[in-house]
Amino acid sequence: MADYAIFFDSSKCTACKGCQVACKCWNQLPSPLGLNANKPTHSYQSPLDLNGDTRIIIHFEENDNDKLWGVNWSFGRRSCMHCYDPACASVCPSGALAVDGETGFVRVSESKCIGCKYCKSACPFDVPRYHGAQSKINKCTGCLDRIANGGPVSINGGTGQTQAQFSVPACVHSCPPGALKFGPRDEMLRLAHERVAYLKAHEIDPSPHASVYGEDQLNGTHVVMVLKYPVETYGLPANPQVNPLTGLLGLMKPLTGLAAAATVAGLGISFLTGLGYKRDKMHYDEKKHEQVDLDTGEVLWRSDAVPGPAGDEDGEKDARPAKKGGK
């Protein structure tokens, strides 16, 4: 099997959100159209999390550095990690999620999705989201359509030709500083290790915590990251785990359609929230600017803005932007 990866270098990312917007435009994903319909995030990060219409966001987090000026400003990529052994695909009863033989990415066939949301429960990174009345899966497709179809195109009425237009994922294509790349996974890993070594040894501004992410985690993912600062500051779990119960879900795969949905509903919310790393049932504390796990009280991440004096604890519970109808 061919083995490709998206490479993300947080130390080159400028957090311009070109990837966020390019993903929306290429995949024809909507954004709120009502007047002032987006929920303010009080942060450089927006939206605060993935949602039914958003497959990738840039994560912002600022922490104190040990210098007189400035901060350690972590710019993270929050999207599907395209695991080697994707728990989402292994539990998907309808075949909507499956490993792509050409790249190893987790491909999405939205038309096959039955809205059972098994995948959300199984995902160690809490990536899957859903849209529409049928709760269709919304997650990064790896732009396999581009990888399959991109290539040289004739331009300007046949007066010229381009080289490899449209041939890599839209987010990668759109990255101005070249912080995103796409290629054979071993090549991407080589780049990642080279970069980490460079960052650690940098003469003026060394990064002792720099690391490669996605090589060993979960036996490897098809997104390989260079993280300049500690892993946690990128909104990523240091040790992502697949919940053992995903095996049980895998056994249910023969069930399809309504039967599967009913099964999940029957298992109840406790089952869903009992699984692995998650973002479900989070509380966003606007005053402290933190995302808190309602069950454990754990602070899942802290945004780039810092808290002011203690205020009321009446933050919104849903971090997703309020949706309003189009005009």
Partner: protein, 202 residues
């Protein structure tokens, strides 16, 4: 630079299954609707035209994909030596200057924020009125002549031929193409305007 994936290699691999499903999808779905990227190639039968971004002065190249006279996609020009195909969030959103996606049906519609018809706001009015192009141009030209003729100065107090009007001002040019700048400049200056400026000051 990313490692290049050849189109041929993947096409061979993706092969027949892809072509079959695509034919099915195309027969069932309007291109205006959201894509199932697993099955449908967005740029079937498109023509590509290059352009240059309308935001900062980087001059990043873009490629517009057009089918049946409608813009299908806009993204960076891979060959462009400055941006190598990349576009920042603003540049990547240039498609939306013309069209947006609805939230419920994910249908591509004209951007409702854009105003594509001439309008006039009469003195004291609280709202716009529709006006045709011919009428708008005729009214504006009449205004120009009236204001210019009432304010035109042929010679100043020192007897210098100055041929100017100080009653009309013009601002703009940084968003237009250079040829348009020249036409705007030439027409405005030829009317006698001295108050000509653009975004360079701001």
């Amino acid at each position: 630079m990313s490692v290049e994936i050849t189109r041929r290699g993947f096409l061979q691999a993706a092969g027949l299954a892809f072509a079959t499903s695509m034919a099915y999808e195309l027969s069932n779905q309007s291109s205006a609707f959201a894509l199932d990227t697993d099955t449908e190639w967005k740029l079937v039968n498109t023509e590509e035209y290059t352009n240059v971004c309308c935001y900062c002065s980087g001059g990043c190249g873009s490629i517009c994909s057009v089918r049946d006279g409608e813009l299908i996609s806009l993204e960076g020009d891979t060959d462009h030596p400055i941006n190598l195909g990349a576009l920042c969030s603003k540049g990547a959103a240039m498609f939306q200057l013309r069209s947006v996606v609805t939230e419920d049906t994910r249908e591509v519609i004209p951007n409702p924020n854009r105003k594509t018809r001439p309008m006039v706001r009469r003195p004291g009015a609280s709202n716009w009125e529709a006006i045709g192009w011919d009428a708008a141009i005729a009214e504006i030209a009449r205004h120009v002549k009236t204001t210019r003729d009432a304010s035109f100065i042929t010679t100043d107090q020192n007897g210098v031929t100055v041929n100017r009007t100080e009653a009309i001002a013009s601002l703009g040019g940084s968003q237009q193409n250079t040829e348009e700048c020249y036409l705007i400049l030439k027409s405005m200056r030829s009317l006698g305007l001295v108050a000509i400026d653009n975004q360079a000051r701001v």
